[in-house]
């Protein structure tokens, strides 16, 4: 899934959360909490119970005042890797799911390399366990490889789960085609729970430039609903207008909630392209 060149590109990258999230364990991310770390934060008067090892002996010697050095505490970032495994992701040549999986692998490796807590999530499947550190990269890859784009549920189900509040706020990396009429609302709901969204919308060229004509019965990949249409040039034009409007709505919803939105075509999805776009958006550094 990832070539050595891809890994080389990913080695120096880190996820750049805009906000500071409260972590559970000591990580490599500075948190608002002051804690035990090597980075000096501030002085305060000694109170009973403070660790004497934090006592600044120089200040005591010179000023005869007991002062404690405080240090920046470093927490881990919760990164939720949401992979859209709905049936619609199996559309296009190459399939959007392959591109999404590759992007998930790239972002997951970045998170693991940054000692962030990575929780891979997919529709319909059991949630994976929280992964941390480069040593879990292989487990992440195995998890990704075992996923299939065949779920009949909408991706919104996974988003609602994230929005339910059961998980601590973190960075939600959504790899999806976002082709649901309620996608924008779902993303807003996720952001409202304190998560920082990074939405990578992957669409196939067939969806962007459909080459169809004549009298057809369109069958929805996920719901199985069908609609009879006559694919005239006017109908295709209208579809494209609707698609663009929908994508713009999703982008606005993500941006206004402080997240990052990137749209990529599945046939042009490379790690390099992904990193470049996310760096441009400021989602990784």
């Amino acid at each position: 899934m990832l070539t050595p060149e891809d890994r080389a590109l990913l080695a120096r990258r880190r996820l750049a959360a805009r906000r500071r999230f409260r972590g559970r364990i000591r990580g490599e991310r500075t948190s608002r909490q002051k804690g035990l770390s090597i980075e000096f934060a501030d002085f305060r008067d000694y109170t009973s119970g403070d660790d004497l090892r934090s006592l600044d002996w120089n200040i005591l010697a010179r000023l005869d005042r007991a002062t404690i050095r405080t240090y920046q505490d470093e927490d881990d970032l919760a990164v939720y890797l949401l992979l859209d495994t709905s049936a619609s992701m199996d559309f296009g040549r190459p399939a959007k799911f392959d591109a999404a999986r590759k992007a998930a692998a790239a972002l997951g490796n970045i998170a693991l390399a940054g000692h962030d807590s990575l929780l891979p999530m997919a529709l319909g499947a059991r949630r994976g366990r929280m992964l941390r550190g480069r040593a879990c990269a292989g487990e992440l890859m195995r998890w990704l490889e075992s996923r299939r784009a065949e779920a009949t549920d909408s991706f919104l189900t996974a988003l609602r789960q994230l929005a339910s509040g059961a998980l601590r706020p973190g960075m939600a990396l959504c790899l999806t085609d976002a082709l649901d009429p309620e996608a924008a609302d779902a993303f807003r709901a996720v952001a409202a729970r304190g998560h920082e969204l990074v939405v990578v919308q992957i669409l196939s060229q067939l969806e962007l430039e459909p080459q169809i004509e004549g009298d057809l019965r369109l069958v929805d990949c996920e719901t199985g609903e069908h609609a009879d249409i006559t694919a005239t040039s006017a109908a295709v034009r209208l579809y494209k207008q609707n698609l663009e409007a929908h994508c713009q709505a999703v982008a606005r919803a993500v941006s206004r909630s402080g997240g990052h939105y990137v749209r990529l075509e599945s046939h042009a999805m490379t790690v390099d392209t992904l990193i470049r776009e996310l760096r441009r958006m400021g989602a990784i550094e």
């Binding site: 619609s88 559309f91 085609d177 082709l179 649901d180 009429p181 969806e207 169809i212 004549g214 009298d215 057809l216 019965r217 369109l218 069958v219 929805d220 990949c221 996920e222 719901t223 609903e225 069908h226 609609a227 009879d228 249409i229 006559t230 005239t232 006017a234 109908a235 209208l238 579809y239 609707n242 698609l243 929908h246």
Partner: protein
Amino acid sequence: MISFLSAASFWWLAPAFAAIILLYLMKMRRQEMQAPALFLWPRITSDVRANAPMQRLRISLLLILQLIAAALIVLALTGPIRAVRGLLGSTTVVVLDNSASMGASDIRPSRFDAAVGRIVSMIQSLSGSDRLAVIEAGSATRVVFPLSSDKSLMLRAIRSVTRSDATPDVGDALRLAAALAAGHSRSTVIVLSDGDFPAVADFSIGKAKLIYEPIGKSSQNVAITTFDSALSPSGQDQCFLALHNYGPASANATLSLKIDGALFDARDISVPPGQTVTRSYVVPPNASTAEAAVTAPGDILAADNRAVLYLQASQGVRTLLVTQGDLFLERALSLNPVVRLERAAQLPDVERAGSPGKGAYDLVVFDNVPPVPVKAPAVWSLGIPGSQYGVVDAGMVARPAVLDWAHDDPILRYVDLRGTAIDRAHRVLTPPGSPARVLATGAAGPMIVTQSAFGRRSLYTSWSVLDSDFPLRVAFPVFVANAVDWLTRETQRAKHGEVRLMASPGKPFAISTHGQVSELIAPDGTKSMLTAPAGLAVVRGADRVGEYRVAGGGQDVRIAVNLLDQDASDVHPRPSINLAGSTVAARPGREFTLVELWRSVVIAALCVLAAEWLVYVRRS
């Protein structure tokens, strides 16, 4: 009214309509396609194809257009045709009889106008591929318009044709019509006439169809068939007149006679059917003009109800041609309307000078006959000379050539004698001191000599007409007219102060004029120019009865044109005409042409199919 060659083909409408509607009843089987985001697709459907049963019939523009196209195609299969009045074929030549009898008013306003109206309706019913030509058989055969399909041109031309009272040569017109129609398929020659013309010989219609459409229905006509005068044995002028009733019933006619414009006699005459009644009148001395008129109830031809007679001029120049036979000279003399020509092999004794009684002739022509003294005041001798006429015979000369002549003499004006080939001529001498005047000389001496003395005039030509090519030259009729005019002009002038002639309608005649341009004034006052480049004006346009005048060139000529034609006055419509021994029966009534309409219907069907295709493409 439209009819159909194959009306049974209408049954095809049912299966055609059923097939089209069945296709629209069938449901379309659509191709299934997976779509990741169904909600983004607009619900636009239009069923333009069907391939599976069944669904509710929906009326659409495409269905209607297809049904219309199918209906038009079936209509074309039925072979619709329409009967159109008018022409029978693609090429039609009409011979229009413009003779005196066509002026009969049994068909209002006249038979001729009815024939013209028939031609106008033919023109108006022409279809795009039809062509029509009209030939007028009038005073001269004339192509009114050649084969054409230009309706406006044809209408203009036919409306310019005027009626005449002439006796036409219908055979000439028919031959021309046959020539025009030859070489064209489906050609027809139509003769519009009352059939009142002589049998036509030497005529072949070829492959064209010949139709005789009779015009006219009545024969009721009382006509003046003869109106002439003569000197009675006692020397008085007498008019005699003949009336003929061509109708089926006895006619009570009123006959009036005017002398010099004043009513001389009027009486009622009953003329039995098919009979002639004659009357004679002793006119007062010195009367110059007699005018006869007849009126009868129901008379349909006016042209023969009036006649004008110039009493003394009616004698014209009574000319006696003494000859053993000379067609050229006889014809040249008769061409002159002034000349009342009679022919004799030898001079009657009563005309010899010294015999008792007055001479009956104004001019005696000795054509290669020994001339003798005559009572006539004018003598013309050709060939054999007579000493009493100013010349003395001195033998014969072979192949004389005219070397010089008096170009300005009235007899030789516009006469070119140069190159005239004369086989032999008499060599003559003019005695010294004689009043003879030499007008033309050759190597052997005088060839044309005139003499005018004591009120008598003579002309001598040293060669016989038949011994030369002179009759074949343009100068010959000019010379003859000049000679007659010079020989008799003083006699005429002494009588009237003007020249008066009698003529028949449509027959051309020549008159001598002093000027090169004269004016011909018709009885209705219309004027036309006459040119006389050689001093001889040929009048061709006197084709209506009445009095004409020729003015100009210092002279005044009055010409009375009378019908006086028994055949022309017999106006009963002939049931058939005889052409080259074949009888062509009359075919009254209108002819119809069947015009096929399937082409128009097919074009309409193609237009509807094109519209249907456009609608389908736009929807697709």
